[in-house]
């Protein structure tokens, strides 16, 4: 979904220098790929979301049934939310938590690597260290949390042996905590890379100027480094938010399949061949995520600053 932000670029760039044919030709291959593999499938999803269906086939037509069914029961009782609201609320909650934590950690790590590590060899090395969580497959990585956080896992055993707790802590696994932990573990990297990239472009003389003017370290950080890293922060945020909004594997495995996510609902619906319902949900999710991204891009003109 982050792709959509980038889409207008080639077209816009091509349009600017007087509609020259070579520019159009240069943009054509990428545009064709996008149209074929992105826009057409997307249009199909939107189309199917208005279709009807039965157990085994899609029935072309035009109905709002699928959208209505998503919001069924949402207006009746304010105290007891409908599934859709509850699910989106839970997804937003994870989004916010993961976003804040990855932002803080990602910013700190990037800051360290950009301003405290002097040699570029060391920077590269540390970057490689940051990618370690990606060396194994997603599923294996998540399953390996069980022996660590489980009732009889390493953490609980150590705490018990140290005499800190009597009974094993149940909330370590299959809980909101474990979901957020896994997300942060997986996706902090997506924050680090763009923020680090922005920080490396900051002119060091600005920092010297700040200190010459008598700014404290915090003042420099807040008034110089943060504003100049804004592009990286926004790009990282877009990565993290779009991934968390659509994720269902991590939430499924770490939440013990007991925590709802929009992605999970769509997955269940597709596996039961309820494609129109799934498509309607996907369209809804897509529009919400696009709105978030639109809001974020208001804060910074990515095209200008890249």
């Amino acid at each position: 979904m982050a792709i959509t932000v980038v889409v207008p670029r080639p077209a816009a760039a091509a349009a600017a220098p007087g509609h020259a044919l070579p520019a159009w030709l240069q943009a054509a291959p990428l545009a064709a790929v996008f149209v074929l593999f992105f826009l057409i499938p997307l249009a199909l999803i939107v189309m199917v979301s208005f279709w009807d269906f039965n157990e085994y086939e899609l029935l072309p037509g035009f109905t709002f049934k699928n959208y209505l069914s998503i919001f069924e029961g949402c207006s009746s009782n304010a105290a007891d939310w409908c599934v859709t609201f509850k699910t989106y609320f839970s997804t937003f909650k994870f989004c916010l938590l993961v976003w804040i934590i990855t932002l803080v950690i990602g910013f700190a790590v990037s800051y360290f690597m950009a301003f405290h590590v002097r040699s570029s060899t060391m920077q590269t090395l540390l970057f490689v260290v940051c990618t370690i969580p990606f060396w194994t497959s997603n599923v294996i990585r998540m399953i390996s949390w069980v022996p660590l956080l489980g009732r009889n896992g390493l953490v609980n055993q150590s705490l018990q042996r140290a005499g800190l707790i009597e009974e094993p802590l149940e909330w370590l696994l299959f809980s909101d905590f474990s979901v957020v932990l896994a997300f942060v573990h997986l996706y902090t990297m997506f924050m680090i890379v763009p923020i680090f990239n922005s920080m490396m472009r900051i002119d060091r003389s600005l920092l010297e100027a700040a200190s010459d003017c008598g700014a404290t370290a915090w003042q420099t950080l807040w008034n110089v480094v943060v504003p100049l890293s804004r592009t990286g922060i926004i790009i990282g945020s877009i990565f993290v938010i779009t991934i968390v909004m659509g994720d269902f594997v991590t939430i499924g495995v770490m939440g013990g399949q007991q925590i709802a996510s929009v992605g999970k609902i769509i997955q269940v619906q597709t596996s039961y061949l309820q494609f129109p319902l799934a498509a309607a949900n996907a369209v809804l999710l897509l529009s919400i995520v696009l709105m978030i991204i639109w809001g974020l891009t208001r804060l910074v003109d990515i095209r200008k600053e890249l």
Binding site: L44, Y56, K86, L173, F174, G256, Q257, L273
Partner: protein
């Protein structure tokens, strides 16, 4: 998430293009290397769940016939999805009988001509008449006898009486119940109601495959005395509401440690002790036991929830590949594979042939419910039961005769899936 649905639509839209490419490649290949192409050995793409796709079976078949089996492993739900949306992506499908209600009306499967199946008349009566020995098996849900026969080779309609054409040739089936950790529970368990017993708060699990999970839930609801279903396998909206309500209450009270969807997840939950009582499948119990951990596939007084899978052939399959598919099915019923499955705690479709390939003591333990006269080992050589042990639930007749219902697709399936999502979100 839109990416995922985008994927499915892409793949659906890409099929004609892909076949086209393949066709072109085929023409090129035949044009340039005709000899190589005609000597092409048969490769059968076998679509099914990983549980049934045993490497040893594929290897033995290859050694016996020279035909290569290429396993395509997906989840239970995805097998059905593929059969409906991408019927040319496999040459042989291994799917559950309950999915037929979705697949057969699409016309994507071919009726299998029983005249070409050597042991067709020896297929156990569990499938053809719904009886075992003198006992009539419970037929709530999608019992195989309701959907095994088709009116013709190209029919989209099930036949109520036996015909020459079968929708699926049965491969493997079993009677499922709850799995427990007796070492952690330390008392006898006799009823499905125990799954929601507060004693096991935070230590229970139910499987998160809606069409199967709802059946387990129904067994629990009945056992708790809340409601008696006229047909658990075909609930009304009200009955679905009631069942899901019971599950949601239990979930909110913290009854479930986790839900599981994948066979390996259930093994992990049980082996790690996170869960002590849960819906389980027989090979998962075997897998926990082969780690040296005590785990019992507990027979319960309300009976079993049964399932059955079988081989189907896509409607478009012809020529050498079709012959190969028939050869595989015939080979499968011929005994070696049956014995292999029986030794894992499953049941095979043709018992007579499987018996000839099993040792007498193995047959007595697995099928007759007699105490083991020597150590019982899995086909891989892991110790499953020591001398003197008796199989959980006893003999074939006791277990299959004790079936109360079958995995099913309900008339209100769309509503059920929606309510199930509510349970997961609750």
């Amino acid at each position: 998430m839109s990416d995922q649905s985008a994927d499915s639509v892409v793949s659906a839209a890409a099929i004609p293009r892909r076949t086209l490419l393949k066709g072109t490649a085929g023409i090129l290949a035949t044009g340039i290397f005709p000899a190589v192409h005609s000597a092409d050995p048969i490769v059968l793409r076998y679509l099914g769940t990983a549980v049934n796709q045993d490497k040893a079976i594929g290897e033995k078949f290859k050694a016996d016939t020279g035909i290569t089996i290429q396993y395509v492993a997906v989840t239970t739900d995805d097998v059905t999805k593929r059969a409906v949306t991408a019927p040319n992506s496999f040459d042989l499908i291994d799917t559950e009988y309950f999915s037929l209600k979705k697949i057969v009306p699409t016309g994507n499967l071919k009726g299998i001509d029983t005249k070409r199946i050597k042991n067709a008349d020896k297929i156990t009566s569990v499938f053809t008449t719904g009886k075992v020995g003198s006992k009539t098996i419970g037929d709530q849900g999608t019992a195989p006898k309701k959907v095994i026969f088709l009116e013709g080779e190209k029919s989209k309609v099930f036949s109520k009486t036996p015909t020459q054409f079968m929708s699926l040739i049965p491969t493997v089936y079993n009677a499922d119940t709850l799995g427990i950790r007796p070492d952690l529970i330390k008392r006898p368990i006799t009823s499905w109601a125990e799954l929601l017993n507060k004693e096991f708060k935070g230590k229970a699990s139910i499987l998160n495959i809606p069409s199967i999970g709802i059946m387990d839930a129904a067994m629990v609801v009945e056992a708790m005395g809340i409601y008696k279903y006229p047909d658990k396998g075909n609930m009304t909206k009200k009955e679905i509401d009631l069942t899901i309500k019971t599950l949601i209450e239990a979930k909110k009270a913290g009854q479930f440690r986790s839900l599981w969807k994948d066979f390996n997840e259930s093994v992990n939950l049980m082996a790690s002790g996170e869960v002590v009582i849960q819906s389980m499948w027989s090979p998962a119990v075997t897998a926990v036991r082969s780690k040296g951990i005590d785990c019992v596939f507990q027979p319960l007084k309300e009976g079993y929830r049964s399932w059955a899978a079988g081989f189907g052939v896509p409607a478009t399959l012809t020529g050498k590949k079709l012959d190969g598919a028939y050869e595989f099915i015939n080979w499968f019923l011929d005994g070696w594979a049956g014995a292999y499955l029986n030794r894992q705690g499953y049941y095979s479709a043709v018992l007579e042939t499987a018996k000839t390939k099993m040792e007498a003591y193995e047959w007595a333990y697995w099928m007759e419910g007699k105490p083991a006269t020597q150590d019982i080992k899995s086909p891989q050589g892991d110790l499953l039961a020591k001398t003197g042990a008796v199989r959980d639930g006893g003999s074939y007749e006791d277990r299959m005769g004790g079936v109360a219902c079958w995995n099913a697709v309900m008339d209100e399936n769309i509503y059920m899936v929606k309510k199930w999502n509510e349970f997961v979100a609750a």
